[in-house]
C-alpha cells in the first residue's frame, strides 16, 4: 500500500509542477504589461517603471519563476492586486465554504444516486427504470447554472421557501472556526439556530451542484448491478430459493458497488467545475466565487493561485479515492 501511495505521488508532483510552469508562462507572456495596468491610465513612464521594479517584473523570466516557486512552496501566493490582501489568506478563508458545499453535494449524489441506481436495476424495464434512465442522461445535459437560476426563481423568489443567496442570514454570526464547515462548527458549539439556518442556505446550491454527479452515479450503479445480476451465483441463489431481497442486499451490492466508487473520484472534478458557476450564482463565499471575481478583475496572481490550489485538492482527492478503491478491491493496488 505504501509503495502504491508513493507511485501515485511520483506521478502527481510533476503534473502539478508542469501546471505551475504553464500557468506562470501564460500569465507572464500573454497579457498586457501588468505594471501598466496596475498604474492606471494617467501614470507616467517613471511611475510604471517603479511599479515594475517593486514587483520584480524587470528581472529575467527564470529569476521571476524561481522567486515565485520558492514563495509558493512556502504558501505565499503574493498579494491580490485588487483586494490588497495576501492571496493565501483569502484562499484559506474560502476553502471551508467550498469543501462544505462539495462534500454535501457529493454525499447527497452518492447516497441518492446509488439507491436510485439499484432501484432501476432491480425493476429493470419498468416505468421507474425508464424515468430514471431519462434522468440519468438528462441530468448530465442540464446546464447547472441555468437550473440553479430556475430553482432560485421558483423556490426562493416566488415561493420564499429557501434563502436566495449566501451561507447565513446577516442577522446570524458565523460560528467559531474549527473545521470551516458551518454545519459542523455550529453543532460543535451547540448553536442549533445557526445549524438550521446554514442547512437551509446550503440546500439549493448543493442540490443543483449534485445533479450531474447524481445522474452519473445512477447510471453506473444501474449498469453495474444489472451486470452482477447476470452472474451464475445469482442464478444459483435464485434456484436455491433465496428471496430477492436477500440476494440483492448482501451479495449483489457488495460486488457491484466498486464501479460507482471509482465514479465518485471522477465526479469530484465535475463538482469543482460546477462549483465555480454555482458559487457565483448563490454568492457562496468559496474558491469558485473567488476565482470568478479574480477573473473579472484580471487579478492574475489570484487566478494562478486558485488554479494551483484546486489542482492540489483534485490530486489529493484522486489519491484518496484510489486508496479506498484499493481497499475495496485489492487486485488494483497490487497490480500498480
Amino acid at each position: 500500500m505504501i509503495g502504491f501511495l508513493l507511485r501515485r505521488l511520483v506521478m502527481v508532483v510533476p503534473a502539478l509542477f508542469g501546471l505551475l510552469v504553464v500557468m506562470f508562462l501564460l500569465v507572464r507572456i500573454v497579457p498586457a504589461d501588468p505594471a501598466a495596468v496596475l498604474a492606471g491610465d494617467n501614470a507616467t513612464v517613471a511611475q510604471i517603471e517603479q511599479i515594475r521594479q517593486t514587483l520584480g517584473l524587470d528581472r529575467p523570466l527564470y529569476e521571476q519563476f524561481w522567486l515565485y516557486l520558492t514563495q509558493v512552496l512556502q504558501g505565499d501566493f503574493g498579494t491580490s492586486l485588487y483586494s490588497s490582501r495576501p492571496i493565501g489568506a483569502d484562499i484559506a478563508l474560502r476553502l471551508g465554504a467550498t469543501i462544505e458545499l462539495t462534500l454535501v453535494s457529493l454525499v447527497f449524489a452518492t447516497a441518492v444516486g446509488m439507491v436510485l441506481g439499484v432501484l432501476a436495476a432491480v425493476r429493470r424495464n419498468s416505468l421507474i427504470d425508464y424515468v430514471l434512465r431519462f434522468i440519468s442522461v438528462g441530468g448530465l445535459a442540464l446546464a447547472s447554472f441555468w437550473i440553479a437560476i430556475m430553482l432560485q426563481l421558483l423556490l426562493s423568489m416566488h415561493l420564499g421557501w429557501l434563502p436566495l443567496r449566501g451561507r447565513l442570514p446577516a442577522s446570524l454570526p458565523a460560528p467559531p472556526h474549527f473545521t470551516g464547515l458551518y454545519l459542523v462548527d455550529s453543532l460543535l458549539v451547540g448553536r442549533l439556530d445557526i445549524f438550521v439556518a446554514s442547512l437551509s442556505h446550503i440546500v439549493l446550491p448543493a442540490f443543483t451542484l449534485s445533479l450531474a454527479g447524481l445522474a452519473a452515479i445512477v447510471r453506473f450503479t444501474r449498469s453495474s448491478v444489472v451486470e452482477t445480476m447476470q452472474n451464475d451465483f445469482v442464478a444459483y441463489e435464485r434456484a436455491v430459493g433465496y428471496p430477492q431481497r436477500r440476494i440483492i442486499m448482501p451479495y449483489v451490492l457488495r460486488s457491484s458497488l466498486i464501479t460507482p466508487i471509482t465514479q465518485v473520484g471522477l465526479m469530484f472534478g465535475s463538482l469543482i467545475s460546477g462549483a465555480v458557476a454555482i458559487e457565483a450564482i448563490f454568492d457562496w463565499p468559496g474558491l469558485g466565487f473567488y476565482l470568478v471575481q479574480a477573473i473579472l478583475s484580471s487579478d492574475y496572481k489570484a487566478i494562478l493561485a486558485v488554479t494551483l490550489v484546486i489542482g492540489v485538492i483534485y490530486a489529493f482527492v484522486n489519491i484518496v479515492v484510489d486508496v479506498i478503491h484499493g481497499l475495496v478491491d485489492p487486485r488494483i493496488s497490487q497490480k500498480g
Binding site: 503534473a15 501564460l26 445535459a141 423568489m157 467545475s273 488554479t307
Partner: protein
Amino acid sequence: MLILRRFLRDVPAVIGALIVLTLVIVAIFAPYIAPRLAEAFDSNLMMRLKPPSADYPFGTDGLGRDILSRVILGTRPALAASLIVVLGAMVIGIPLGLIAGYRDGWVSETIMRVTDVFLAVPQLVLALAMAQILSGGIWSAILALALTYWPFFTRTVYSETRRVRSALFIDALESLGASRLRILTLHVMPNVAAPVIVRATAGMGFTILTLAVLGFLGVGAAPPDPDWGLTIAESRQYLPQSWWYATFPGLAIFIVVLGFSFLGDGLRDLVDPRLRRSR
C-alpha cells in the same frame, strides 16, 4: 446496412440524431427561420420585457429584442464554436496519441506526462483561467477550450494505438518496410477511428455546455451576440418578474446537449456492443 438497421432500433439514438440534424439545419438557415430577424438585434425600448405571446412566443428581453429569434440565431455560435473546439482538440490530440501509442521511450513518456499536466485541474477551471489570460472574448474561449480538451483525445487514441500495435498485421507492415508515417495514417488510424468519433460526438454536447458556462461567467461571447449562456447571465437582473428571459435559452442548451449525448451513446453501442448501457 445491418449497422443502420441496428441504429434505427435504438430509439434514444434516433431522437438524438434527429435533434442534431435539426440543430444543423436551423443553424445553417437561421436568418431565414428567425421570425423577427430585425428585432433580434435592434433594441426597441417600447417592447422590453414582454411575456410570451402569439407575436413573441418566447417573450422579449431587456432591450425589447425577440428572444425566439435570438435563440434561433444562437444555434450558430454554439454549433460553430464547439465544432472548432472539438476539431482543434482532435488535430492536436490525435497525432500525439498516435505517436505516444506507437513509440516507446522518452517521446511517448513525455507526451503522456504533458497530458497529465493538462488533466491536473478540471477542464472548466483551466479553460476559465486560460480564456481570461488570453484576454477574454469568444475566440479566447474557443482557444482555451481546445487547448484544454486535446488530452482527452490523446488518452483515447493512445490506449487504442497500444492495442492495435501488437497486432500481427503491423508486424507484417514493418517487415515489409512500410514507413512509420504510412503505418500510422493508413493502418493504425482507421482502426482507432471509432472510439474517437464517439468521443467527439459526446464532446460536442459537452463543449456547448462548457461554452455556455464561459459565456455566462463573462469570459466567452460578448454583447450583443445572441449567445445562450450570455443571455441567461443578462436575464438575472430582471428576475423574478421576467421568468421567460432565462427559461428558453436554457431549454435550448438542454435539448441540444441531450441530442448529442443520446447520439453519442447510440454510436458507442454500435462501435462497442460490450459497453451497451442497458439490455
